[in-house]
Amino acid sequence: MNGASHTGASDDLRDVESCRNGNTEAYRRIVERYQQRIARMMWRFARDPETHEDLVQEVFIEAFQSLPTFRARAPFEHWLARIATHVGYRHWRMQARRAEIETVPLEDWHELTASDPEEMDAEKVAELLYGLIAQLPARDRLVMTLRYIEDRSVEETSRLTGWSVSMVKVQAWRARRKLEKLLEKACGGL
């Protein structure tokens, strides 16, 4: 595994250098290498397939434009994940400004309280969960997604968001409490 990741890292560095020297075609290899990982990440930010694809594209375009700032101090994938986080967060903030957040229908919550989530369809559960998280402010959504859904460490979340470690801890704790209250309200409202 180490060998594979080492090869991946050296491929990344070679391709980035190639792009900087004007060989744009090298960027195609980078996109092909990372698009499924970024797609998975962006699926947490946008669940509409069209918007999702737009966001994935946006991540790669922003990354291409920012290639001159890549210093290779951290793996390329981490750098790319950070750009993806910013693109996703910006999308949520714009969505909140346009008040485009959808709420989950009450009958869906009825199904949840009537059965065990572990026996339910994973897509359905994800739909409910993301619908609930969408009611939170963008900052809380971000920290909930990174810390609890993607199961990233506090340090990783801090690196991706640019927030301090203590800020991440406080924000994550508050966001989780808020989400539990929302869940209580959603289930209790039946």
Partner: protein
């Protein structure tokens, strides 16, 4: 009945198992790059050089301005300094 903390933990654990749609944005990204919509931004290095050049021009001007301002005298103070001689 399951408490909400447990329910949330179960929801999160189940939601992680969902499949994500596969995408292929290679063609769109490369098209945007080739059409010039996405151009490489000047790196930090370029901005550092602009800052260094600006500083090189601004620093001597700031020194001249400061030394110049030291020679300025308040007209009121000048009048007061001259006053004893005028009285004599």
């Amino acid at each position: 009945m399951m408490n909400h903390e447990n329910l949330l933990a179960k929801l999160i654990s189940r939601a992680r198992q969902e499949a994500c749609p596969r995408v292929d944005v290679t063609r769109r990204v490369m098209a945007a790059i080739y059409s010039g919509q996405a151009a490489l931004n000047p790196g930090v290095d370029a901005l550092v050089w602009v800052a260094v050049a600006s500083f090189a021009v601004a620093a001597p001007l700031a020194v001249f301005a400061f030394t110049g301002s030291q020679t300025w005298v308040d007209p009121l103070m000048a009048a007061l300094v001259d006053l004893p001689g005028w009285l004599i």
